[in-house]
């Protein structure tokens, strides 16, 4: 494992405050698995920011992030040709399985699911966003069902409606989910009630990103687990 200093090929705003960055990263591309993340150094802030791997294309790594806080805002100002430091790929990612798989993402949770969906056989993809100006990757996924909270794009309502529709249609073998905590809680409940296996990707503020410092721990089944090393993907 090592630090990677990577050349930026693209860093563009694709939705409101949402930036799409592509870097030349042959070492990361070689070993990255869906659901893993990179720990990104951002200009003028102290700690690295963990950002999910969105996609790998040949030797290029794609990450999509929201420029909300100081770190990501500074990251969004980097230009093609400049370099960015990343650690990775890090974390315990998704395990692609055969069968009828549902991939469900909410908001920023949509991004790590793209690379995952490429490792599945014809998955059902359900994406939920707050509103039309935040919708992205609708053309990168294959036939996604889009939901928006306000109905400004796609169907009105939460992505979880799409999940219950799919379950009512027939057998679902695995649910893969990433999104805001209330959404993941709802999905875990639906999965448990219907006795369906699931893999959820969580997030938590991180320190080292490699499993040494224990600041990113979250409670899973009565024990604290490291989101950066035992996760970000947890199974149920």
């Amino acid at each position: 494992m090592q630090e990677h200093i990577l050349k930026i090929l693209k860093n563009e705003e694709i939705a409101k405050e949402i930036f799409d960055m592509v870097v030349y990263a042959p070492e990361i591309a070689k070993t990255a698995a869906p659901g893993q993340f990179v720990h990104v150094s951002c200009p003028d802030v102290f700690l690295r920011r963990p950002i999910s791997i969105c996609d790998i294309n040949d030797d290029n790594l794609r990450i999509i992030y929201r420029a909300e806080g100081k770190g990501t805002k500074n990251l969004s100002s980097l230009k093609p040709g400049e370099t960015v430091s990343m650690l990775g790929p890090l974390g315990h990612g998704f395990a692609p399985k055969k069968g009828n798989c549902v991939v469900i993402g909410g908001g920023l949770g949509v991004f790590p699911l793209l690379y995952l969906s490429k490792h599945l056989d014809n998955p059902t993809v359900i994406l939920g966003f707050c509103s039309k100006d935040l919708v992205c990757l609708e053309n990168d996924f294959i036939n996604p069902r889009i939901f928006t909270d306000d109905g400004s794009c796609g169907e009105i309502g939460f992505a979880t409606k799409g999940l219950t529709d799919e379950i009512n249609k027939g057998k679902v073998d695995m649910i893969y989910a990433c999104g805001p905590t209330p959404m993941l809680d709802a999905i875990e409940k639906i999965a448990k009630d219907n006795k369906i296996s699931y893999q959820v990707s969580l997030e938590e503020r991180m320190g080292c990103g490699v499993g040494a410092c224990l600041v990113c721990n979250c409670m899973r089944e009565g024990k604290y687990k490291r989101v950066c090393a035992d996760g970000p993907v947890f199974e149920g």
Binding site: F46, L47, R205, G209, V210, A212, C213, Y224
Partner: protein, 302 residues
């Protein structure tokens, strides 16, 4: 050129140690470099029984630093000896066990258990609240520091290093008490107490509300305190607080430290301890110094 340094009866191969709590039990950073190159691994803080630690969030960024309130999550001293220490010792690396307790009796119990282990040095964290004295930290009262050091020292087989809290009025007084109590070394600084408020939620970011400040922002306080302590005691000092580069480490040696610890820097650069070690070595060679002792405490005041 000899990089080795002595803490009590133990010789470390070089003066670079990793900061307790930042390095786990060494296995994660082993993926980046051979950790046996370092002077010692400062292992994650241990308590008598397993501890879950605090609820999230346990970290908040600050300008040039961070706050942590992990809450001493650890598997307990017995599990450490049985599992993590065994792995470390297979790699031939010196280990500093860091211990925390609620009562003096707990500290004594832990050093008795560790006496039968391969741990090389024991670092006693006294920034914990003294449960029997209303929760005031052990390390804020010089009489308590003398009492806890002398009582723990009676049961301690390995060299005992007392890790001082900087949240005190007179750090030199605290160090003198530890030395009088029989400490073989002093390490400082532990974290400074701080708070970060989220103005959107109007609440502190940390679940624990307050936490320990570390990183480059604390370095000037740490260097000043190492200098003050070095002028007050004769026992060796492990200096820490915001060391990111070999130049930072040099400040601590000049202030009087015998060894230094690199902790928070690892989050930003996993290779930081090795880069600091290589930089110190290069500096000594280029300036024709034979060992650390030739630069230690060589600060000249204005």
């Amino acid at each position: 050129m000899d990089l080795s340094v002595k803490i009590g009866s133990v010789t470390l191969k070089n003066p670079v140690v990793t900061g307790s709590g930042t390095f786990g039990f060494g296995q994660e950073y082993n993926e980046y470099y051979d950790i046996s190159r370092l002077g010692a691994i400062g292992a994650k803080g241990l308590t008598l029984e397993e501890r879950q630690g605090n609820p999230p969030h346990r970290i908040a960024e600050t300008p040039s630093g961070m706050l942590n309130s992990v809450g001493l999550q650890n598997p307990g001293v017995k599990s450490f000896i049985k599992n993590d220490l065994v792995k470390l010792k297979k790699q031939n690396v010196s280990v500093i066990a860091n211990i925390s307790g609620n009562t003096i009796e707990e500290y004594c119990e832990m050093v008795k258990i560790l006496a039968n282990s391969d741990v090389d040095i024991i670092e006693m964290n006294i920034s914990c609240p003294n449960v029997k004295q209303g929760g005031v930290a052990f390390g804020t009262d010089e009489k308590v520091i003398y009492e806890i050091t002398s009582r723990v020292k009676e049961h301690c087989k390995q060299p005992l290093v007392v890790k001082l809290s900087p949240n005190v009025t007179d750090i030199a007084k605290m160090a003198v008490s530890a030395e009088k109590g029989g400490a073989d070394g002093i390490s400082l600084i532990n974290t400074l107490l701080g708070m970060v408020i989220d103005i959107k939620t109007k609440r502190p970011v940390l679940a624990n509300n307050v936490g320990g400040l570390s990183g480059p922002c604390v370095k000037p306080v740490a260097v000043r305190m190492v200098w003050q302590v070095a002028n007050a005691v004769k026992i060796p000092i492990i200096g820490m607080g915001g060391i990111m580069t070999w130049e930072d480490a040099l400040e601590f040696f000049l202030a009087g430290a015998t060894a230094i610890s690199v902790g928070t820097a690892c989050f930003v650069d996993p290779m930081a301890p090795i880069k600091v070690l290589d930089g110190i070595e290069k500096y000594l060679i280029e300036n024709n110094y034979n060992n650390i002792e030739e630069i230690r405490g060589k600060l000249v005041l204005n």
